[in-house]
């Protein structure tokens, strides 16, 4: 096959891998924003906790990949619910900024708490045997395949939940209008908790996949990845689940392309400049709709 085509396909695969991880985190941001209109700044750190859960489960209990992934998702999901109940729920009537600052505080707490417990970066053992297949010069590793397929499956599952089930209907109803939804008999608090559980669980899955692909983890790894996932959510139109996926795959491709063609130190520079331009040109994201503001 043509060499240039192979090269592009290879970069496309890398972009899918990175984009898949970003998408899983971005979905958590966008779901919480859609329902509470609040930026959950602690979400990137939930992702980091997911990677550490993965580390603990695989080294202390010696579990294999599938139970590790499931337990990690369960653990971070619970963490998400606990954070929501303790830190965000009491502030639902308060000015929105105080909830944002609380989220920043929760994020700092998670980072520094993890740092206090484990000050050095950790190496994750290989959970999956890494096989690399070679197709006409295109190399595809088993880890890459697992990450891409798993993230697509989880995204598809979430899309089904939100658009096809009753709980998803309740979520969409709450994001539409919070005032009258309780009158229809929808348990708002429970739906919000479920939203946080799902979002945090997806972040946990992203954390374990990240740990598979880049096996060194540290307490501050959630900051930059979290912010970038948040950017994906905004680029796609925050509050819009399909938008978050589109944004994640766009940012993933942009980063991979920058690294492929420019020195890698330019990665953040280009990514954030593009983001700034995009927001100025299209302030509501790619799939978002502008809100009409009344005076």
């Amino acid at each position: 096959m043509n060499e240039a085509l192979i090269y592009w396909l290879q970069q496309g695969l890398n972009a899918l891998q990175l984009g898949g991880i970003y998408a899983l985190i971005a979905l958590g941001y966008t779901m919480v924003y859609g329902i509470l209109a609040m930026i959950n700044f602690a979400h990137g750190d939930v992702f980091m906790i997911g990677a550490f859960f993965c580390f603990l489960l695989s080294t202390q209990l010696g579990l294999s990949f599938v139970p590790t992934l499931l337990l990690t998702m369960l653990g971070t999901g619970l963490l998400g619910v606990v954070i929501e109940r303790l830190a965000y729920k009491p502030l639902r009537q308060a000015p929105r900024v105080s909830a944002i600052i609380t989220a920043l505080g929760v994020g700092l707490f998670l980072e520094n708490f993890t740092l206090a417990l484990s000050p050095y970066p950790k190496h994750i053992p290989t959970l999956l045997g890494n096989v690399t297949w070679n197709l006409y010069g295109l190399s595809l590793s088993s880890i890459q395949l697992v990450i891409i397929s798993l993230s697509l499956v989880l995204i598809g599952l979430l899309d089904t939940i939100v658009h096809r089930t009753r709980i998803g209907m309740a979520m969409r109803a709450i994001s539409w209008d919070k005032t009258y939804v309780p009158l229809m008999g929808i348990p708002v608090d429970r739906v919000i908790s479920i939203t946080f559980a799902i979002g945090a669980g997806l972040a946990g899955a992203a954390g374990s996949m990240y740990a598979l692909a880049y096996p060194v983890i540290d307490p501050y790894m959630g900051i930059l990845v979290g912010w970038k996932a948040f950017i994906c959510a905004v680029v796609g139109g925050i509050g819009n689940i399909r938008g978050a996926m589109v944004g994640a795959f766009i940012l993933g491709s942009v980063e991979i392309m920058v690294v492929a063609f420019l020195p890698s130190t330019f990665r953040d520079f280009v990514a954030f400049t593009l983001l700034m331009l995009l927001i100025i040109v299209r302030p509501y994201g790619i799939l978002g709709k502008p809100r009409v503001q009344k005076v």
């Binding site: 900024v97 609380t102 700092l108 707490f109 206090a116 130190t265 953040d268 927001i279 503001q293 005076v295």
Partner: protein
């Protein structure tokens, strides 16, 4: 009891001679303290950090609190001010030869930051709320990774060997001058425009507030102050690198602002002071020397089990404290209130009543 004290306190603050006398004695003290070693070197350092943080918090409050735009870019403006002034005193006009030009270098740092403030001000005409928060965040990351790619200023390794030119009198002077500037801006006609943008931008535009001009001024003034704080910071720390000015720094300033309370200069001063001093008190060495008067039977176990571990845990205690403050005090300590001493005569009546709920980032009704 508290009410009685506050009555006397307010009466004291209304004396016209009070502010000039306080400022003059503060300035004299700022000169005397380093000259005669009235305070330890460490305590002087903390005082200078408090001053710099006050500038940062008050100026961020102008954008976040008074104008109601959630900006995360302050560390970026600080970085621009710090790098500009450091390059000036190190490479262009070496401060070893021209020590008197330090204030000009600081001013240049502020001016450079103000120019970059326009980059954030212009998108703010179109974009509001959370989207502007992201633009400011993107700006911060662009500045940071931009500096990392400039070899002239050391790239990711940072810039070391900056002369220590920041002294207590200079910090005192800039803190007072900039707080005075922002206080006057807030209570000027433009300041009313800033407040009206917070309450409702479209309505204030309709009421013939020139919102673009007001935003220009507010963003530029805020970033100017941040640049000056950055310049002072660089010449105090003597070493700057892009990592010093990352999101964590912006978060720190945000915490000071929201701890003290939005739209309150007094609150920001309080928040910055409390935050800086508390974080220093939680250092193991400081805590140990503070509690050293305790009898050894109490002190030794305390030291062994608690104080010696503070180095790691103080960064855990601080966010927990922030969360608790926010849960029980969602507006911060002085949210939307002001020390009477900062309020001009003609505005005192307005502040006697509680202010209406500010429509900060109000979610537009969907229908």
């Amino acid at each position: 009891m508290i009410a009685k004290v506050s009555v006397y306190w307010n009466r004291l603050l209304e004396r016209r001679w009070l502010v000039p006398v306080l400022l003059a004695s503060g300035l004299v003290l700022a000169f005397l303290v380093p000259e005669y070693h009235l305070l330890s070197v460490y305590a002087q350092l903390i005082l200078m950090y408090v001053g710099i943080n006050i500038i940062l918090a008050v100026s961020l409050n102008l954008v976040n609190g008074y104008m109601g735009e959630f900006s995360l870019a302050h560390a970026g403006f600080m970085a621009i001010g710090a790098y500009t002034s450091a390059v000036l005193t190190m490479k262009v006009l070496p401060a070893a030869d021209f020590p008197l030009l330090f204030p000009l270098a600081v001013l240049a740092g502020g001016a450079a930051a103000a120019v970059f403030g326009l980059i954030v001000a212009v998108p703010s005409f179109k974009v509001r709320g959370d989207y502007l928060a992201i633009i400011t965040l993107a700006f911060l990351m662009i500045v940071k990774s931009g500096i990392e790619n400039i070899d002239f200023v050391g790239g990711p390794r940072g810039l070391s060997g900056i002369l220590r030119l920041t002294t207590l009198p200079w910090v005192f002077f800039w803190t007072v001058a900039l707080v005075w500037l922002i206080r006057n801006f807030v209570y000027s006609n433009y300041g009313r425009g800033v407040l009206s943008i917070r309450e409702d931008e479209i309505a204030s535009d309709l009421m013939s507030v020139n919102t673009r001009q007001v935003k220009f001024f507010a963003f530029m003034l805020s970033s100017f102050c941040a640049g000056i704080a950055g310049a002072l910071f660089a010449h105090l720390l003597q070493f700057i690198s892009p990592r010093v000015f990352d999101i964590a720094k912006s978060t720190e300033i945000l915490i000071m602002v929201y701890l003290g309370g939005i739209a309150s200069i007094g609150g920001s001063i309080l928040g910055a002071t409390l935050f800086t001093v508390l974080l220093e008190l939680l250092r193991p060495s400081t805590m140990a020397s503070l509690l050293s008067w305790l009898p050894a039977a109490v002190f030794n176990p305390l030291n062994e089990h608690f104080i010696s571990h503070l180095g790691v845990w103080r960064m855990v205690i601080m966010p927990l404290a922030l969360i608790l403050v926010m849960l029980y005090w969602p507006r911060g300590m002085m949210g939307l209130r002001e020390y009477r001493g900062f309020v001009p005569e003609r505005d005192k009546d307005a502040h006697r009543h509680t202010l209406p709920e500010a429509g900060l980032h109000e979610h537009p009704e969907s229908d």
